[in-house]
Structure formats: structure tokens, C-alpha cells
Subunit: 316 residues, 2 copies
């Protein structure tokens, strides 16, 4: 049995998977802030999983951790995970010391890409990803995370592709709007400023607990500002899909992250943009971009399952 833990900005999800990648147990709890609290969260969920599984923690052959931030995957050090208050923290070594099992640490979007790959190829979770068309399985895939930020994890021929310097899939920082706002990265009009949770919150200030859903509701009711923000969101996601296909040519682009809780209307909107583009470009038409998109069901803990699978590859 192997453990996978997805440390999110607000909540942490953890799973135990068996040798076939089937999820045996799953627990969730709020994530603490800062090094001590994050470590405490990791040890707590792992012990809860051991209780559920009726075994000691030492029976877990590996523990994989996905975390939103810059990770040195060779050492398990988190260089910075701003939302969790971590800077140069030896999360892997510290977790391994406290739990007595081998630990691997990976960026959460990359972990989710590995989980999504397994889902799409039918290895776990008992079914294929959502979406009403597209191929049944895939050798290459991008997991496009529409969360607080926007970034993709890339799986090629079944293996995670991190790139030469670990920034593969950081398409959120490709500028797409010359008249856009300055991004946190310093460039103007990055994709992330348009099609991420933070981008929408900035454009649609509200007291609602979900600015994305609030904006979408207003757009549906015809609010002109909301309609513009919504259309830019769709256009931006479509732009991300086109970028991923024309650079990496992944078979599937799986959408995930908080913004995808919009569900079918998001998928329909993005597909609509892609079809409009294709209608004036036989070349784009031939790529069938609209058929390459899928989304992950809310119930599937892609990053936790992916982290468990990465642990398996690293500690065979």
C-alpha cells in the first residue's frame, strides 16, 4: 500500500492505494499554515489512513506529497510555497523522519497530471474522465489547472515531463493580452491574469465566497461586465489548449482546479471558442481541439492519487 497526499491551500486530501492503484481509503482535513502546521497535517492524515487500513504507518511502502509551490524533487525540499508559508523547507526529509517511510515531494499540478493520466487510461477510480467525446485512452496528456493560478502538468508516453529546469507547463505566464494588467510575474497580460481564480477575483470583486460562480451567474443574467469576463475566461482556456497542442501536441487536455467547478458551462464555453476558431482555419479544424478536452470529476482526488503513483515509481 502507498499513500498520496495533496496539500492544498485550504484543505488536504490523502489516499491509500493498493498495488493496482485502486483507492482503498481517503481522508480530508484543513491544511495548517507554516512549516510546523503543514508537517502536522501530513503526519495526522497519514496516521488516520493507517488507522483506516488497520496497519502501522511503516506498512506504507512510500508516501507521495503534492504541494503548490516550487519543489526540488530530488531532495524533497520545498523551495517556496507562498500560500502555505513555506520557504526552503525540507518537507520530504522531515516527513520521512517522523513517519519512517520513504517520502517523495512533487508540485501539486504535476502530481495531478499523473493522477489524471491514470484516470484517463482507466487505471484507477473505476472510469474514464468526463467529457462527451474524445479518444478512450491517451499516451500524452496535459492537466491544465485553473486554480488560484494557471499552469499545466504534462505526461508524455506515460511519464511526467518536468522539463529541463522544472518549468514545463508554466503557460500561465505566457502573455496573451497586450492591453492586460501586470501579472504577479512582472509581465503584462499573462494567461493567468484572465483564466484563473485569482484573475477572475481581481476582475469581479465581490463578497461572495465564490467570485467565479458569482461572476458566472451575473453573466448568465446578462451583466455586461460579467459577460466580458466570462468570455475572456473561455477564450483564455481555449488559448491554453491551443498552446499545449501546438507546442507539445498532447492527445488530451484535462481541465482541473477550482474554476472547473463551473462544470459543463465552462466546457461548453471553451469548446465553443475552439469551434469558432476552427471554422475559419482548416488547420485548426484538423487538430480537433474541442475533442481533446476533458475534465476531472470533483470526486476524483487527482493530485493525491498522482502523488501516490509518483511514490511508486520512485520507491519501487
Amino acid at each position: 500500500m502507498r499513500v498520496g497526499i495533496d496539500i492544498g491551500g485550504t484543505k488536504t486530501a490523502a489516499v491509500v492505494v493498493d498495488r493496482n492503484g485502486t483507492v482503498l481509503h481517503e481522508v480530508k482535513q484543513p491544511t495548517g499554515y507554516g512549516a510546523e502546521e503543514v508537517i502536522s497535517t501530513v503526519t495526522q492524515v497519514t496516521r488516520q489512513l493507517a488507522d483506516r487500513a488497520g496497519c502501522p504507518v511503516s506498512d506504507f511502502r512510500s508516501i507521495g506529497i503534492g504541494i503548490p509551490g516550487a519543489v526540488n524533487t530530488a531532495t524533497g525540499r520545498v523551495d517556496h510555497a507562498v500560500n502555505l508559508g513555506l520557504v526552503e523547507f525540507e518537507l520530504g526529509a522531515e516527513s520521512a523522519r517522523l513517519l519512517g517511510s520513504p517520502v517523495v515531494v512533487e508540485n501539486d499540478v504535476n502530481a495531478a497530471a499523473v493522477g489524471a493520466y491514470r484516470l484517463v487510461n482507466g487505471g484507477v477510480g473505476g472510469g474514464a474522465a468526463g467529457g462527451d467525446s474524445g479518444p478512450a485512452s491517451t499516451g500524452s496528456l496535459a492537466y491544465l489547472n485553473l486554480g488560484t493560478g494557471l499552469a499545466a502538468g504534462i505526461v508524455l508516453d506515460g511519464s511526467l515531463w518536468r522539463g529541463a529546469t522544472g518549468v514545463a507547463g508554466e503557460i500561465g505566464h505566457i502573455p496573451v493580452d497586450p492591453s492586460g494588467v501586470i501579472c504577479t510575474c512582472g509581465q503584462r497580460g499573462c494567461l493567468e491574469t484572465i483564466s484563473s481564480g485569482s484573475g477572475i477575483s481581481r476582475q469581479w470583486p465581490t463578497d461572495s465566497s465564490s467570485p467565479v460562480h458569482d461572476m458566472m451567474r451575473a453573466a448568465t443574467e446578462g451583466d455586461e461586465v460579467a459577460v466580458r469576463i466570462r468570455d475572456m475566461l473561455f477564450d483564455g482556456v481555449a488559448t491554453g489548449v491551443r498552446l499545449l497542442v501546438l507546442s507539445v501536441d498532447v492527445q488530451s487536455v484535462v481541465l482541473g482546479g477550482g474554476v472547473t467547478s463551473l462544470g459543463q458551462p465552462l466546457l461548453d464555453g471553451v469548446r465553443g471558442v475552439l469551434r469558432t476558431w476552427s471554422s475559419s482555419s482548416p488547420f485548426l479544424e484538423s487538430l480537433r481541439l474541442d475533442e481533446r478536452i476533458r475534465y476531472i470529476p470533483d470526486s476524483f482526488s487527482a493530485a493525491a492519487i498522482g502523488a501516490a503513483l509518483i511514490g511508486e515509481k520512485t520507491h519501487d
Copy 2:
């Protein structure tokens, strides 16, 4: 010994390499137009190489062909190579029949990427690629072709990455200029409309045999239109480099194709743009984009050598 042939729109270059990838002989001749002429070119250069090598053609263990067009690499069929007048032509099978050796056919930009990879990693040609900085070797590389069109070939962990549907690296058809012209692909303001030979010829009509050099000369002399075209060229190439790094995160981007005959001024111009961007973005700065660029010396037949190497991988 293995043969590699680069069938260009106007001229064909062909090499014989030994088992170490060292070029033993090289020949060049004008390329014919249409199926019969192209096949005739292939057989002629192969027989010339056999003469040079003092052996029968049957001594060549494989013949690799790079060609500008859409290729079915599994069958060796050229689906379309517009500039050569080929449509659904069984180039691989026909060449193999006439020459009696196994033949592989690959898109020329992909073939050049494989050749560039070998060059950068010191396997052939007796030296590293040009450029005054950057790492000495590289596990991943994009060959960015600035020819009549604009496209990249991608090598990851030493292997050519064609993508799920063979369009990996087709970044020339990513729109970057919302106010640009309609591209041959049907979209507006594609990268190719700005930073390719055809894009420059369209913007700078001239009787000169080299519109690119003519434009560059005029820009140096202060012609305002030329300066604008030149600056857009630099900006577009820099945009391509940023795209390739933020999507695939290749260690090196090797520039090739006719436009790179501009030499050092092109490299300096593109690096200047990248440095300007980095000066306002610590994130981009950390990627050291300017140090990732290299160019291929004119004397290095990247696509022919790459085609020979692909033949080696396919017919061991």
C-alpha cells in the same frame, strides 16, 4: 555507413555518416519539382555518395530523408509537400524500391532537430553549436526553424518528440498579434506571419534575391518601416523561445533556417528582447532565456545528418 538526405525547396543536401555519426562525404544539387524529379534527385545524390564512398548503394544500411511537408513516418508516405509538388506520394517505398536499402522519411524540421541535438551534444561535426553562452550539453532541445515558414522540432531526453498527432512544435500557428494579417492557416496574426522568411517578404516587397537581408540593411540605415519589421522579427523569435520554454522547458533553443543567415545581429536582437523582458520579470529572469539560444553554423547540414541518425534508430 548511412545516408541522410535533406530535400529542400530549392536544393538538396546529402551526407554519408559512419557509425559514430561523423560525416564522411557530402553532396548537394538542385531539387527537382514533382514526384518524378524528387525521386530522381534522391537516387542521384545517393549514387553520387556511393561513388564518393567507393561502394555500392547496397552497402548503405539505411537512407533517411528529411522533407518539408506532412509525413507519415510509419509508412514513409509524404501526404503533402506543397513547395515540391508532392501529394500523397510514397516517397519511402519508391526510394527503397529503386535503391534497395531501407528508407525512412521524416519532416525536415524534425530531422534538423535530431541533427542539432547531436551537434550540441558534441557527437558530430567536430564542435558545439554557435552562441557565446549556455550549457555545454543538453538533454532537451528545440530546433526553431525560421525558414519560409516557422516551426520547431523537439528532442526530449535524446528522442524526437513528434506529439500525439505529429504537430508538436507547430508554434508558427500560434497567434501573437491581434492586429496582424490573416495567416495561410486561416488564423490572424500567427507567429509565422511575423518571424519567417515568407512573413518578411510579404512585409518588405523587393526585387532583391534576399528580402530578409535587404530589409535588415534598410533597418540598419534607419528606414522606419524596415526598423519596425526588424523589431517585430526579433520580438517574434523571442516570443517563440519563451513559448517553447514555458510549455516544453527545453534546455536549448537552436535557431536555424534561412532567416538565421542574418547571423549575429539576429542573435543579438533576439537576446536583447529577452533581456528587456527579464528586466521587469524576476520569473523570466530566472529562466535565463537569452542563454538558452544557440544557432547552427551554415556549414552544418542539420537536417541531412539528422535524417541519417533517424535511419540509424529505425533500422538498427
